[in-house]
């Protein structure tokens, strides 16, 4: 899947991020309200406000610390932070960007492998079928994450309840979807 990760222009992480997302990090005045409301604040190794702080200061080592953090992968994109931020900093978009950049620079935190694998499996399923095939996704995800046992107990009962389709639903013209993926991967390489 890495072939569709955009190539960012040269510049510091902050300038790239600001350009890509429109977020301006100097707007953050470090009040911490984002972190205070973040449902995963306890889990995070670098707190949301601290990520912005590091982007503001750009001291040596900060970029690496951000890109290899677990936090960027834990972020659920729930937007609690942004909806309450007094300075209207769109943190979730910052997080989106940082994840993409983390993959591009091969700095994904080892503990985030499961999460990343899931995202990738998900997209592969769409690429193949145009829609999500949940059985296919589960199998694929398990192969990637090597997390074989998890949910195995759940799957049969889901099928019994008619909640999982064994054969994938497909859009009529799956090639079309594959083409979109291809155009984007080409488009973003320029």
């Amino acid at each position: 899947m890495h072939e569709i990760i955009p190539q960012h222009p040269a510049g510091t992480l902050k300038s790239q991020m600001e350009e890509a997302t429109g977020v301006i990090v100097s707007h953050c005045y470090q009040c911490g309200k984002c972190t205070a409301g973040c449902p995963l604040n306890e889990e995070m190794d670098v707190r949301p406000n601290q990520i912005l702080r590091m982007l503001q200061l750009e001291l040596p080592g900060y970029e690496d610390k951000i890109l290899s953090s677990l936090s960027i992968w834990l972020c659920l994109a729930c937007d609690t932070c942004y909806s309450r931020c007094p300075q209207e900093v769109k943190l979730s978009q910052v997080m989106d960007f940082l994840r993409q950049e983390s993959i591009r620079q091969h700095k994904v935190n080892p503990k985030a492998k499961d999460i990343l694998s899931f995202h990738k499996a998900f997209l592969d399923s769409i690429k193949l079928n145009g829609k999500l095939h949940e059985v296919g996704l589960t199998i694929d995800y398990k192969l990637r994450s090597l997390n074989l046992m998890q949910d195995v107990l759940l799957a049969p009962s889901m099928m019994a309840k008619g909640k999982l389709a064994i054969f994938p639903h497909q859009v009529q013209n799956t090639k079309e979807i594959a083409k979109i993926f291809k155009r984007i991967s080409e488009g973003t390489k320029e």
Binding site: Y29, Q30, C31, G32, K33, C34, T35, A36, G37, N41, E42, R47, P48, N49, Q50, T80, R84, C85, P86, Q87, E88
Partner: protein
Amino acid sequence: MARIGVFICHCGENISATVDVAKVAEKAGKLSGVAYSVDYKYMCSDPGQTLIIDAIKEHKLTGIVVASCSPRMHEGTFRKAAEKAGINPYFCEMANIREQVSWVHPKSDATTQKALDIVRTMVEKVKKNTALTPIKVPITKTALVIGGGIAGIQAALDIANAGHSVIMVEKKPSIGGHMSQLSETFPTLDCSQCILTPRMVEVAQHPNITLYTYAEVEKVTGFVGNFEVTIRMKAKSVDHSKCTGCGTCWQKCPSKKIPDEFNEGMGFRTAIYSPFPQAVPNKPVIDRDHCNYFQKGKCGVCQKICPAGAIDYEVQDEFLDVKVGAIITATGFDLKHADFFPEYGYGQFKDVIDGMMFERLASASGPTAGEIRRPSDGKIPEKIVFVACAGSRDKAKGIEYCSKICCMYTAKHAMLYKHKKHDGDAYVFYMDIRAAGKDYDEFVRRAIEEDDVHYIRGRVSRIYEKNGKLIVKGVDTLMNGDPVEIEADMVVLATAVIANQDAETVAQRMHISYNKHHFFAEAHPKLRPVETNTAGIMLAGACQGAKDIPETVSQASASASKAIGLFSSNEMTREPIVAVVNRQAPPNFTSCTGCMLCMEVCPYHAIEREEMKDRTGNLIKVAVKVNAGLCQGCGTCVAMCRNKSIDLQGFSNDQMLSEVMALLNS
């Protein structure tokens, strides 16, 4: 035929070192219309001035140009000299050949040529000058003070003590403003009522002060020294000249369940009421929106029992026209109220209150007699959380500014709580502590060091209620951003200071400007902080921006001194540099077409509509005229006028054009 005199100054050697002054004088003498030209060592010295006066007389000069320093230095000096010689002082112009020529250029032909160019330019200008007379405006030595908070009270007393009359207009039934609601005040923790009440009484009793409560300013016209003001006296339904303030009426009034504004809704009042025991005047008014007689047509209890026969249900709002010379606007502020903080449950949970409610809880005259009890069940909170910057410095909520007083009153609140509940826990969530006044930071430190208040740096994200506790979810940014969750019994939000709801209307009635948050605008943020752009209208207190009592009082005294200064003479003299609309014989009256473009751009609202009527009173034409009392002479209107109907005396179209032509055509 103009006979102009030109006087070239050497300024010691300041000018003559680089400009060939003799040559300038010689060439100037040959300019058309110049009847006399001379150079001299020091024009501004006594002999220099005498030289000018003598020359004017001797050569029958009609105007003079003094080529020397900047007009900002000596324009006054030379104009006076001209006047002494018997010509109108506005026939004197200066050519600035020192600051803008000799001091900035080397000795050269070009420098001399430039000096000559400037002289020629001013000669052409002075030829177009007209005789002007300084404007004299009589002054009505009465001040109007709008708003009876501490700002209005201070200003009124200062002016009244200086011997001038004051009319005070307060929209509520009593003066006192927010300060009358406060418990104790920072940074000294003295009792607010104790220091305020004597002054309220002094206002009521002062022979020079006329107090109109339950009244509002409806209209302001005129200009500095000569305002005409219409005051609306809202119907009190009680004749205060008869009422003795005995209180029988409000004890017996059956409409008792009206939320009490003075106690911020934590308590009730009756329909006929005096807002608080120390009110001035301590006589009631009927709140018609809640009175049974006015709403349902029956009751009349108060009228029946009033021993003085003071109740009058029939009175209507009355209007009073007064003339004043100066106006002090002291209408104060408001606080942001509930519904503003869905994430903090403000307005949803009873025990999430604002700072003013806390003041009432802490006040000995408040609904809990000074015991800090939470509104929901009356329990004394064991754990209390204060949230600073609640709504202030919050772009997302539309208020970017700092409310300035809340850091201090939050520290005060935390202290008052700790003083009354020694074993209680007080937490303050803050972003920065802004305590920059004299003895202010010490005050905050005392809260932290002596009273053991826990300050946590971080903004609260959410407050929700569970099992009778308020769960406050914050963060400690000084501890690596660790989440902090406090189960509090009560939360006090230091909500933003905002302008009054009617501030915009008030400003428009007075023709004063205001910022986007509707705080009134001072004429200059540093050097004219108490005046407005409308001459004669001053600002005092929190209507201009959030401020505490010391600052409010200083500003009130400062604006009072501006009024007193104005009243120190019987009339004012102003430079006649004002705009005029041309006048022609009927039926044209003027070339002005009444497009009103000038009116829109005038920063001082000096341009007024004028209706031209024939002898029988039929409207012939609508045009404009300039109120010379308001005009400050900026000339913006002149540049706007398409048909050159409005012109600026002293900088007229004719004069400016002659300058341009003269400068370029040697």
